[in-house]
């Protein structure tokens, strides 16, 4: 009771001070986004946001997206400063949580200087957030979301450079059945939007191609003991195992399956395309396969240099998603530059950038070539199949499947 007014008086005094400063013209923003005042380089600021999980279970990949995008932006800073604009990256952490993603998206929408978004990693976050971007006409390019639903809603803003689940899954199935000669396939998935979507697409195509599905089981993300599921697999004695899920579980499944004496080859999707997989599975990773939308970086023009530069700059091995994010950012900046050119250097509107992104054709990036179709899918998307020849990342390219 006594302390009550004490506190209030103190609060009011403090507020008076703060608000006074605020009105005095200087900004009291806690945020980075204090409008034009941060344009220390002079001229106007163009911001691009990234949204990816920087914390939580898939932070390796989330971080890779951020760094890849950052690198591309660094590479383009000079071009833009010639045009009188300074570029700024605003990384957001969506925590792999749809709620957080949407709340961040509203903040991004409010910041008029943001002209585009690179993200998200998880389809489950991309889908609701894209609805918000659509309201504000901010184009987004996802370097990772593969769920069919993401582009099937035909939003104007939603684009992706990676292949859809219903292309990647069947491509993997084709390789498994036709090239490896799998007849009896056991499918495991991690009960996430990504893992399930991919595993179902794989299963349906494999069945269509004449293989029998010996089992279709789910696991829980974050678990460490997969002996239960692997015991079922062991009794079915399959000649091929497909896993739809992330590398943390994938690595353990490979390891524990080998411990159980299961020798069938194990294959997964682009989420296994990570150095983390090799770290977890160790020598057991040999002979495992993964499909990916990224071609061999070493074979692309300037790819080796790029990888070396990435490693030097961030002292990390580039992940598959680093390259996608790099390309996504490059596409975004190219589109903005195009609109700048046609508007004579005026700050472009979000709508024109959005349409320019969608109009991207025959873009050649570090990881992939990109042409967006009318839904925002990459009509160039190819699926590459890799095999681990030893315990080094990345694996060896063994096949290429076109759409």
């Amino acid at each position: 009771m006594k302390g009550r007014w004490n506190g209030i008086v103190a609060a009011v005094l403090a507020v008076g001070l703060l608000a006074g400063c605020g009105n005095g013209g200087s900004t009291t923003t806690t945020g980075a986004s204090s409008g034009g005042s941060s344009g220390s380089a002079g001229g106007k600021v163009i911001k691009i946001a990234t949204q990816s999980p920087l914390s939580g279970g898939s932070s390796i990949q989330g971080e890779a997206i951020r760094l890849g995008a950052q690198m591309s932006m660094e590479d383009h800073k000079e071009d833009f400063s010639k045009l009188g604009y300074s570029l700024e990256l605003v990384p957001y952490d969506d925590q792999g949580d749809p709620k957080k993603g949407v709340a961040n998206a509203e903040q991004i929408g409010a910041d008029q200087a943001v002209l585009g978004v690179i993200g998200h990693l998880n389809s489950g976050v991309s889908i609701p957030s894209s609805v918000v971007y659509e309201k504000y006409n901010i184009p987004m390019i996802s370097p990772a979301s593969t769920a069919t639903e993401f582009t099937d809603r035909k939003l104007k803003v939603a684009n992706r450079v990676v292949a859809r689940d219903d292309f990647q899954g069947p491509a993997a199935a084709e390789y498994a059945v036709k090239t490896v000669g799998a007849k009896k396939i056991f499918v495991i998935q991690d009960k996430t939007a990504y893992g399930q979507g991919l595993a179902e697409a794989f299963r349906d195509k494999a069945q269509e191609l004449g293989a029998t599905i010996a089992g279709y089981e789910g696991i829980t993300v974050g678990e460490k003991d997969f002996n239960g599921v692997l015991n079922i697999a062991a009794t079915q004695n399959p000649d091929f195992i497909f896993f739809g899920g992330l590398y943390a579980e994938g690595g353990l499944i490979i390891k524990q399956a080998r411990d159980k004496g299961i020798t069938a080859p194990i294959m997964g999707g682009d989420a296994l395309d990570s150095s983390g997989l090799v770290e977890i599975a160790g020598a057991d990773v040999k002979g495992s396969l993964y499909s990916s939308v990224a071609g061999e970086i070493a074979k692309m023009e300037g790819g080796t240099d790029w990888a070396a530069r990435y490693q030097k700059e961030f002292s990390k091995v580039p992940e598959g998603y680093s390259a996608y994010a790099y390309d996504s950012m490059t596409i975004m900046l190219d589109a903005i530059k195009k609109t700048l050119d046609s508007s004579g250097g005026e700050m472009p509107s979000r709508e024109t950038v959005r349409d320019a992104v969608r109009a991207t054709k025959d873009f050649k990036g570090i990881a992939t070539e990109v042409s967006f179709d009318d839904k925002g899918d990459n009509s160039f998307a190819k699926v590459y199949i890799y095999e681990f020849a030893g315990d080094t990342y990345p694996g060896k390219l063994v096949s290429e499947v076109s759409q």
Binding site: W5, L18, D93, V131
Partner: protein, 432 residues
């Protein structure tokens, strides 16, 4: 110091001084929000005017009117000034959603003393109730191409969602009634997880929830042909529901039922021997608490247009518990404050702080290791709040008080020698 003391006394006694201060504060912060491009601080201070209002010594009726004016006119108008309108409103909307949920949990934990660790399950039930029928999902198990229902049904679904969650509350309550104390916490935690796992897997044998793929393209609400899509539109829906919820909680708290809850909380056996029907009292607490959460679940589903089981994890239940514990178990204004503080901390402060640190380290001013970025520290912060509040302030920021009853109302009280103190007796708010 004496000057301050004088000021304090003047303030406490002088209503005019209070109103001047309040109006001044509100005007300054509102103007700051309106004029500045984007200032989180100003917006938070504007919200703090509600807290200031709580501490004035007006009668409840006047406080309510001022609060309504602030919520319905001043805050939306002030934030509409800049381009950040919707981002402010998104924060305010999520605050409202969490406040309603925290008030629901407060009935169970704060009033009735039943620690429920799986509270988010009811939120999920509400969200899925609307989600399933407002998409074509329901066609999978109900024949005839009836779905999705139009956005006009949203308004009825607020009630249906609350009702469904209430039923789940009773379903959970029934078996749980045999279990007490910390066992109850674990059992409810288990229930919460079970519900989430079932939602995550119920795409076979019959596809009801679409499993991990979630439900997308949920119909937005529609009122006479007007579609709700922006946060500043949802804001008013949320405020409306919230007012109903606060009104209901206030009425319940001092009703016969509310007193029964508190009696059960203080001593179950004594309460029972005084003729309080234990089972019914506890079940009603579960049902009402759950239904608040369910109603907000419907709003959440409509606002997000997409729901999947990842939004309903254990950390969500804990977050709601942190709100209640921080604010003060059993204290309605406390819980409102706690819920707002935690939501704002989560959505605004941590994010902005992270962005700011990122900016600094990108410019090379300071080197903050990525592992220490504030938005990753959520668990640490919540954990510390729980420990510190438990040890140093078990009654929370605003402790619950029992309503004072004038002496003459207390019948048959000749043994009451003491004068009823002028200040409200701060009650023993600790449950159990």
């Amino acid at each position: 110091m004496s000057k301050l003391d004088n000021m304090r006394i003047t303030l406490r006694e002088n209503k005019l001084a209070q109103i001047v201060l309040l109006v001044l504060f509100t005007l300054v912060t509102a103007a700051a929000v309106y004029l500045m491009e984007r200032s989180v601080t100003a917006f938070l201070l504007l919200l703090a005017s509600l807290l200031l209002l709580y501490y004035t010594s007006f009668t409840n009726g006047i406080k309510w009117i001022i609060a309504l004016v602030l919520l319905l006119v001043v805050i939306p108008f002030a934030s509409s000034g800049g381009t950040s309108y919707d981002s402010y409103m998104e924060v305010a909307t999520q605050c409202g959603i969490y406040v309603a949920m925290a008030l629901g949990l407060n009935i169970v934990v704060g009033f009735a003393g039943l620690l429920d660790m799986g509270f988010v399950a009811f939120f999920a039930v509400g969200a899925y109730t609307y989600g399933i029928f407002a998409t074509d999902q329901a066609n999978n198990f109900i024949s005839g191409d009836l779905f999705p229902l139009s956005g006009g049904t949203f308004w009825i679904f607020i009630l249906i969602g609350g009702f469904m969650a209430g039923i789940f509350g009773i379903l959970l309550g029934l078996p749980v009634l045999r279990v007490k104390g910390d066992y109850l916490a674990i059992v409810t935690l288990g229930f919460g997880e079970i519900i989430r796992i079932i939602f995550n897997n119920l795409e076979k044998p019959v596809n009801i929830t679409n499993g991990a793929m979630g439900l997308s393209s949920i119909q937005p609400p529609d009122l006479f042909g007007f579609d709700f899509t922006f946060p500043h539109q949802y804001y008013f829906i949320v405020i409306a529901i919230l007012l109903v919820v606060i009104f209901a909680v206030r009425r319940l708290e001092h009703s016969r039922l509310g007193r029964s809850w508190k009696a059960v909380r203080e001593n179950e056996i004594a309460a029972q021997s005084m003729g309080i029907p234990l089972i019914r009292t506890k079940l009603i607490a579960f049902a009402i608490g759950a239904s608040f959460s369910g109603m907000m679940g419907v709003v959440f589903a409509a606002k997000q247009t997409f729901i999947d089981p990842t939004s309903f994890t254990l950390i969500e239940s804990t977050t709601i518990l942190v709100m209640v514990v921080l604010g003060g178990m059993g204290s309605v204004p406390g819980v409102i404050l706690g819920a707002s503080l935690v939501t704002i901390l989560n959505l605004q402060v941590l994010t902005e702080l992270t962005n700011w640190l990122n900016q600094l380290s990108m410019q090379g001013i300071i080197e903050v290791p990525n592992a220490l970025s504030p938005s990753k520290m959520q668990r640490f912060i919540f954990g510390m709040i729980l420990i510190l509040v438990a040890i140093f302030r078990p009654n929370g920021l605003i402790a619950a008080k029992n309503r004072k009853i004038p002496k003459e109302v207390v019948t048959g009280g000749p043994h009451q020698h003491h004068k009823v103190p002028a200040t409200p007796i701060s009650a023993k708010a600790n449950p159990e």
